[in-house]
């Protein structure tokens, strides 16, 4: 306890210097916590956006579909798949779909599209397309051959509500399929891929177009939160083992999202590393100075019988105490900022273009504070400070008492 008191009082011997050092540490940590929180929140939103715009948390297809998609590859036993899905604990919704490529055309123009056949209310529990309808209405099973298309596709084909949309496909039996649909709804999701490339039809219409009566290309499902994906995937895979299906989580279906997150994280760590190095230099300077100012004192301590490793411990303890104060203050500031913006939201309108490119539909980011983030950042700071203090500590421990006592 005596040495703890001594270390603590040593820290505040030069109040201004220590305050500045503590300020540097706490600002560095606060910055770290907030930026990490912003990143985490942003990534989570990205994933949720992507997952809820089309791909869902998990997709189930016939085995081999993902590597080599073909309209002929349909789910071998849809009833078993449905059963397996319904057994999941935190399920929010699922949708059985028919998917295929087609040529959409109007009198003016034609374009390659992805045709998606869905059951509207099933689909609305998985994706948010139904909320993105800007003209007309969402698919209605009571209508005759309705089609829901994105605003960009409508513009490309120069079609409006009520116009006919022709879709040509190669059906599952090899024949050429072609049908005319009525545009009953136009949506704008913000995702260029959806708005330009998707045509939503009623499931029965898509099945008939592709000659897939009673069959489905995929089952996609949404959980209550993305942290449960791995467990759900494992459960489904076990349940459907040997049934000739593949159960794919969203990050396999669209790896670029995960890749982007990892790249973003990598950038973040580089920035944090640079920040830590800069702060470390400052801390090193502070502790070094405090050691040089106490050469005679260390001489006395070691003359009295303090061993070198005890001297090291004292110096490192002083550094650690400095760090702890900085961590407490920085942690509080960083958490406060993060929590505030977590509920108020932070408008990143200036980065709107980039956001759209990676599938974000809104420019408001909600940072996320996690115990892990807070804990790891704090520990990292503590570790770095203690590591940096080793150099001055060892220097002090290596002083020769006889010479040190004579030091001015």
């Amino acid at each position: 306890m005596l040495f703890l008191a001594m270390a603590w009082r040593n820290v505040w011997r030069h109040r201004r210097r220590s305050v500045l050092t503590v300020a540097a540490i706490s600002l560095g940590l606060a910055f770290n916590i907030f930026m990490r929180g912003l990143g985490d929140g942003f990534h989570e939103q990205m994933v949720d956006n992507s997952v809820q715009s089309h791909i869902g948390h998990i997709q189930i297809h016939r085995a081999g579909y993902h590597d080599d998609p073909a309209i002929t590859k349909t789910l071998p036993d849809p009833a078993a798949v449905r059963q397996a899905i319904e057994a999941l604990p935190n399920l929010r919704g699922f949708s059985f779909r028919v998917l295929g490529d087609g040529l959409a055309s109007s009198a003016e123009n034609s374009a390659g599209v992805g045709v998606v056949g869905v059951t509207p209310d099933e689909e609305s529990r998985v994706t948010t397309v139904h909320r993105a309808v800007v003209e007309g209405e969402y698919l209605d099973p009571g209508q005759h051959k309705p089609a829901l298309i994105g605003a960009r596709l409508a513009k490309l084909l120069q079609l409006s509500l009520g116009d006919s949309l022709v879709v040509l496909v190669q059906a599952a039996d090899g024949s050429m399929g072609g049908e005319k649909y009525k545009i009953t709804g136009i949506f704008r999701s913000g995702s260029p891929d959806l708005d330009r490339g998707m045509v939503y039809l009623l499931l029965r219409d898509a099945q008939s177009l592709f000659a897939l009566e009673g069959r489905y290309t995929e089952a996609t499902l949404l959980l209550n939160n993305s942290s449960g994906v791995a467990a759900a995937q494992a459960a489904l895979t076990a349940h459907l083992a040997g049934d000739g299906v593949e159960v794919l989580p969203w990050y396999v279906v669209e790896p670029y999202i995960q890749q982007f997150i990892e790249l973003d994280d990598a950038f973040f760590y580089v920035i944090v590393l640079i920040l830590f190095i800069v702060i470390s230099v400052g801390i090193l300077n502070t502790i070094l100075m405090s050691v040089f100012e106490r050469v005679r004192e260390f001489g006395v301590m070691m003359s009295l019988g303090m061993k070198p490793r005890q001297v090291i411990r004292l110096v490192v303890l002083e550094a650690a105490l400095l760090a702890v104060v900085g961590i407490l203050i920085g942690g509080a500031i960083g958490s406060a900022f993060t929590l505030y913006y977590a509920s108020a939201g932070m408008d990143l309108a200036s980065w709107a273009e980039g956001a759209a490119a990676i599938g974000m539909t809104s420019t408001v980011a909600y940072p996320k504070l996690t115990a892990l983030n807070l804990g790891l950042s704090s520990l990292a700071v503590l570790f770095v400070v203690m590591l940096v203090s080793l150099y001055p500590a060892v220097h002090a421990a290596r002083l020769r008492p006889v010479e040190a006592i004579r030091h001015v």
Binding site: L103, N109, S110, G112, L168, Q170, G174, M176
Partner: protein, 253 residues
């Protein structure tokens, strides 16, 4: 003197024979043009059956076919019932598709030119560039070989620098006697062989020999091919211009 007289004819004859045996290799472009003429002439009118085979299904389309070499063709499907009346019109590098069921003429956009034509192993691009082999490539004769029982030249065709072709190279085995192709190999830009077309069942069609059976097979996929069998074919008749119009696509017969 007697000996000399007997030997001179033998020598002369021998010389002639040797000269004929080492028949000069033809000029590449020349050979390509001859091959094009042999296959397409000035115009064609015919009926054919196209069978597309996949692991999961096999389908045969019957069609009528009109073409003016090098840049106009018109195809109308006559059977089966689902596709009956579907037509393809090609003028230059433009292609239109008509489906009676949806009563719509669709211009095939450039982005879909590499998609299969009517689900077969021929792409839209293949149909549009039938004669581009002469115009868009430079040719050399690389050797000779007996292919499918016929004495053939191997013609190597490399795309010209700015030519709008998807292939890195093509090779054709053409018959020495009449430049009819027996095999055509399609290589991608990395030099990998992607598709092979075999020309078989050579019969007399009008004034020429003609392979009545064409089979296109992708190299890296199992159990997939497209076979074209000509049922009737006449060459070099005059074809009225109204055939190659969008109105003709929409005409019901």
């Amino acid at each position: 003197m007697m000996i000399l007289r007997r030997e001179v004819p033998a020598l002369l004859l021998g010389g002639l024979i040797t000269a004929r045996g080492a028949a000069k290799q033809p000029d590449g472009l020349d050979l390509a043009k001859k091959c094009d003429w042999a296959l397409r002439g000035k115009t064609q009118i015919g009926q054919a059956a196209m069978t597309v085979h996949r692991p999961e299904w096999e389908r045969t389309l019957e069609m009528g076919y009109w073409a003016v070499n090098p840049d106009k063709s018109f195809i109308r499907i006559t059977a089966p019932a689902k596709e009956r009346g579907t037509g393809t019109l090609r003028i230059g590098t433009n292609m239109w598709l008509y489906m009676p069921r949806v009563e719509r003429t669709i211009k095939v956009p450039p982005s879909l030119m590499l998609q299969p034509w009517m689900g077969s192993d021929f792409t839209n691009d293949d149909l549009v560039r039938e004669s581009s082999l002469v115009v868009d490539y430079t040719h050399t004769v690389s050797g000779e070989e007996t292919v499918a029982g016929d004495d053939c030249w191997w013609l190597e065709a490399t795309p010209k620098p700015d030519a709008p072709v998807v292939w890195g190279k093509q090779r054709l085995a053409v018959r020495k006697q009449d430049a009819l192709p027996r095999r055509q190999e399609f290589y991608d830009e990395r030099g990998r062989l992607r598709k092979v077309m075999d020309y078989d069942d050579i019969q007399r069609a009008g004034d020429r020999d003609y392979p009545m059976r064409w089979q296109m097979k992708p190299v890296d996929k199992k159990d997939r091919w497209t076979r074209l069998i000509y049922r009737k074919l006449v060459f070099d008749r005059k074809i009225p211009a109204r055939i190659f119009t969008q109105q003709n696509l929409k005409k019901h017969f």
